[in-house]
């Protein structure tokens, strides 16, 4: 009995080994793809993530970003603008950086889609949106948008080519 069990275990092992070897010799049928880069909101990585942490940020899944980066984003915000109190959305430093640290683009399926159009806020990102001015205003403009006037707009307000009304919407290349 013991011997027979031993033999069957041996045979089972041999089968497993054979299968394993066989698998190794077969080319993979299903490719696995691993994270290289990720982004959602414009320029967040550029502005808030230190150069030594860009790779870590790019491989941290969004549901884990808040816990990993909110404090670092706050420190960065206060380094850029030591006088930050609240922004034009009424967000204090914790609220603002807490929102930004989870880098996803919020998109509405019912409202007009825009980063900010004067009425709708963070309902998407359209091609013509001046996203940099929105971010600069929230970073430097204070509660009224009137603080640090030299820093709240880059004075580049539109693209160098007109967009198309229909698919694929982006302008032809230069």
């Amino acid at each position: 009995m013991k011997l027979r069990t031993g033999l069957s275990v041996l045979m089972a092992s041999a089968v497993i080994l054979f299968t394993a070897c066989n698998k190794e010799n077969t080319p993979p049928t299903q490719a696995v793809y691993e994270m290289g880069d990720q982004m959602a909101r414009p320029a967040i990585n550029t502005v808030f993530v230190g150069s030594s942490e860009k790779d870590v940020f790019n491989t941290t899944i969004p549901s884990a970003m808040g816990a990993a980066f909110a404090a670092k984003f706050k420190a960065r915000l206060l380094a850029l603008n030591a006088g930050y109190t609240t922004n034009a959305l009424g967000q204090n430093a914790d609220q603002f950086t807490g929102l930004l640290a989870t880098d996803v683009l919020n998109v509405s399926k019912t409202a007009p889609t825009t980063f900010f159009d004067g009425t709708n806020i963070l309902t998407g990102r359209a091609l013509a949106d001046d996203v940099i001015d929105v971010e600069l205003l929230l970073l430097f403009g204070g509660p009224t948008g009137g603080s640090n006037p030299g820093l709240t707009s880059d004075h580049v307000s539109e693209n160098d080519k007109a967009f198309l009304a229909s698919f694929p919407y982006l302008a032809t290349p230069h």
């Binding site: 696995v32 880069d37 359209a126 982006l170 290349p173």
Partner: protein, 219 residues
């Protein structure tokens, strides 16, 4: 017992060494180019001309000159993936995947991914639409199937920003922006993937959270 431990150790060493070689080989393979194909420069999501649709744009390989654009290619080992969370937990419930194959851009989904997180596979049965990759200087080639449209190829970079002046401000050599500013991205192109999808395929909630990922084949 000792032997098993040794075997286990040997196995771990083998895996580590093999992994190391694969990693090194990837980086020896023309690092500048392999980094560029995975570099996402911008993500846009907006209503289509038909407002029942949403348009997803991922731009890659930024700051291409016209001459560089004529030679730029999509990498067949780089998956571009739009991740869509439709219940507010910032975990993808749906993905739209795009990958180049033999001169075509193939799109899979939107569909529920096999697994969430930093690794992805493509479910062949989720194929939805494909288009010939548009060649620089030619009219846009558009694929349309199952109510989903796709375009892939060089386009003007829609982003505009005086990045040069921003860097001077951050570097402490300027105190503010110029008026007018200088668009650092003027006259440059990107490799674009544009996918238009009926909103009805994206779940029943009124808001979604979207992010784009580039993922490189590791096997």
């Amino acid at each position: 017992m000792k032997k098993r431990k040794f075997l286990l150790t040997a196995f771990i060493v083998a895996v580590t060494v093999t992994g190391g070689i694969i990693y090194a080989a990837d980086h020896l393979d023309s690092p500048a180019v392999s980094n560029q194909t995975t570099d996402i420069t911008d993500v846009y999501v907006f209503r289509g001309q038909n407002t029942s649709n949403l348009v997803f744009v991922a731009n890659t390989q930024g700051l291409l000159s016209p001459s560089a654009s004529s030679m730029a290619m999509f990498d067949e080992k780089t998956l571009i993936e739009f991740n869509i969370d439709n219940n507010g937990d910032n975990v993808e419930d749906l993905v739209i995947q795009a990958i180049a194959k033999n001169g075509k851009m193939k799109v899979y989904g939107p569909y529920k991914p096999v697994s969430t997180g930093t690794k992805s596979v493509i479910s062949p049965s989720a194929f939805s639409v494909q288009a010939d990759i548009t060649v620089y200087g030619q009219a846009a080639k558009i694929g349309e199937e199952n109510g989903i449209k796709v375009f892939a190829g060089p386009r003007d970079d829609p982003f505009f920003f005086d990045l040069g002046q921003y860097q001077k401000i951050i570097g402490g050599t300027a105190s503010g922006f110029n008026n007018p500013g200088t668009d650092t991205f003027k006259g440059t192109n990107v490799m674009s993937i544009v996918i238009e999808v009926p909103k009805s395929l994206l779940g029943s909630t009124n808001t979604i959270n979207v992010w784009a990922e580039s993922k490189k084949a590791i096997n």
